[in-house]
Symmetry: C2
Subunit: 395 residues, 2 copies
């Protein structure tokens, strides 16, 4: 509402603040880490969904990924980012109802890479090619999604049927339709780890499972350009011999642009590395209950409970903490308001936290929180608004 | 994407379906229930956020509320609904940074009623009136929010300081600025009840606490036009003597338009009363793990865990169930995809659930789920798309 004014205290609340230099620094650090290991970063766009931060993920030439390949979580994101990026990986196994749109996007850029983990995905793409012979001008560009132990998506690399899919598109009857790019895994189970050591071990495990399967495919004579692993926790604890020992040549983190309370609790970032805050206003105070009420509820913060498995039983309910006063936490988000209590029951300073005071909330899960907003207010280190980024929305 | 086609199977997924006759019937039944008790329904708009369903909430003249008074959860909603409704209650204690916008809205319709539960709310409204003497043409219309035991917002009716606030605006130095409309409570703790009997008892408790305070104010000589209680669970189990015994003359439910899995688990509706489903596509299948993967994740369903306190320890993870096959449930939503398992571990029928098959998901919490979408596809009893409703978004 007050975009002409650069003072965040005049913003309509709830709204989201993006800390520009923090986000840029997160991007640079991830790129430097990967470059030191000799691997590409194929950054995921899903956390921020903005062209501007997508560019930050390649800034200063620290990213070895010269094709500026990116990953998106929806086809809507794919179309949105195609204005700037021409090598896009759509990271969900392709459903038949998305084949047509995916192929149109593929034709419009260098390549839209799509995922398969079942023969039905291949069949529906072949079916499209056969039914649209005039339109089918270039092969589908595909990655095999493999399950590295997360058990959400991906084919089992131990099964012969998985390798049979690769054979089918490389040497078999489907070879005229497909360009095989490589393999991809996602270690989402890293968010359930207890300690940084657990994450480190999981990183080794993902590198081994995915890397070994890449080696196996190569030993069978297949060309495997890309062996890609990831999740922000694993990408924060990569083994030094990722490329030399395991043959993994790409990582694909996403959340690291913003980080959040979960990444902090897992030990993957410091509080000052968190690049997104929700600005809220205290709408009432209840000194008799030692509580505040703010105008940011589930529709501003999301209702993700975060890493409850890492918390003391007394502080399980923690849907965000207050920036610069991390003893204060969101304990109960309703749709449009949330209750704030102090974790250790110490008295809240009501001379500081008054009706009308602004607070900044560090979210549990920045991917979900950022997605709640249509505009990001981008601020500098002096808390002045320097830009507005508009994320892609919906599907 | 295929709005010209009335077949839901051609819709881009994920998307939301609104079951027109179910929603209308929910509205009629709530109005009939209230009318039989002789009380108004002041319907809440926050669950659906659409003008069309707002009108359904007054259809067939079953609602005794002749001023067509409604409730909204944000000022953005207030402005949106002011096109159709002229008596609006903004249900969050008014923060100083929202006073100006609230007063503009108040001037533009019959009345915007705002909430107070602390003297600071009154002070900021008086401050605005004093600083804008030419603009201040009509008194602020206000409700006192009282705490009926939920302990989220509201002044304590047992404290003299609460009644002092009423005195201040009715007879005291602030009387030139305010029109006192009545009192309002919200029994959000009804969502933590174990059984319908518990909810019934809570309804009596809210009616007693709020109704008694209304009687007290009247006995002190104050005019109290409205004594309003609510929450969909409580409004589903109202005592027959709500008006005659307790003096409560208004209820303000919202979720009842759509209902959801939580309301079903609490015993407030049947599965067939749930008026909103998320349509999703199966993007992959994993027979070896007896699992499906669908393209509706936390950004389509929300990550609200629902009424975990009512569930068997084995089925705590339930972020939505499959319509017409309620043994299948969302066990793990990620940002854009979710895993589905069968609750009793029985084998999923993979001849029915194939890659590309559509499923309809009954959400845990319809208020949060509906808010994830920019368009509602409205369907009739034959599952044909008959309309598109566009909800108010953001703040």
């Amino acid at each position: 509402m007050n975009e002409n004014n650069d003072d965040i205290n005049n913003l309509n609340t709830p709204c989201v603040l993006v800390l520009d230099s923090v986000v840029r620094n997160n991007c640079i650090k991830m790129n430097e880490r990967a470059a030191s290991l000799g691997v590409n970063v194929r950054p995921h766009m899903k956390t921020h969904k903005t062209i501007e931060i997508g560019k930050y993920q390649f800034e200063e030439n620290k990213n070895l990924n010269k094709s500026r390949g990116i990953i998106v979580s929806t086809l809507s994101e794919g179309k949105f980012f195609s204005k700037e990026f021409k090598d896009i990986l759509y990271a969900t196994p392709i459903a038949p109802n998305k084949v047509k749109d995916a192929y149109q996007l593929h034709l419009s850029i260098d390549r839209l890479n799509v995922m398969f983990d079942n023969i039905e995905h291949l069949k529906s793409m072949v079916d499209y090619a056969i039914k649209n012979p005039n339109e089918f001008q270039k092969k589908w560009s595909v990655f095999l999604k493999i399950d590295c132990g997360y058990h959400r998506a991906g084919a089992d690399p131990k099964l012969q049927s998985t390798t049979d899919l690769v054979e089918l598109i490389v040497n078999g009857e489907y070879n005229q339709y497909f360009q095989f790019q490589g393999i991809y895994s996602h270690s989402g189970h890293s968010y359930k780890c207890q300690t940084p050591t657990d994450i480190k071990n999981l990183a080794i495990e993902e590198a081994r499972v995915t890397g070994d399967y890449g080696k196996k495919l190569k030993s069978l004579g297949y060309k495997v350009d890309t062996v890609s692993i990831g999740s922000t926790p694993v990408c924060s604890h990569l083994p030094h011999n990722l490329l030399s020992e395991y043959g993994v040549n790409e990582i694909h983190p996403g959340n690291y642009t913003f980080y959040d309370q979960m990444q902090y609790e897992l030990g993957n970032c410091k509080l000052e590395d968190i690049g997104v805050h929700v600005l809220a206003t205290i709408v009432s105070i209840y000194p008799e209950r030692n509580e505040l009420l703010v105008d940011a509820g589930s529709l501003a913060l999301s209702s993700d409970p975060g890493c409850t498995h890492l918390r003391d039983l007394k502080v399980i309910n923690n849907f965000g903490i207050v920036y610069n006063d991390t003893n204060l936490r969101i304990v109960a988000p309703s749709q449009e308001v949330s209750k704030i209590q102090s974790t250790n029951q110490s008295p809240i300073d009501f001379s500081k936290y008054k009706i009308g005071s602004k607070i900044r909330i560090i979210p549990n899960h920045s991917c979900l929180t950022a997605a709640m907003f249509s505009d990001y207010h981008v601020i500098n280190n002096d808390n002045q608004i320097i830009n507005s980024f508009k994320p892609n929305k919906h599907w």
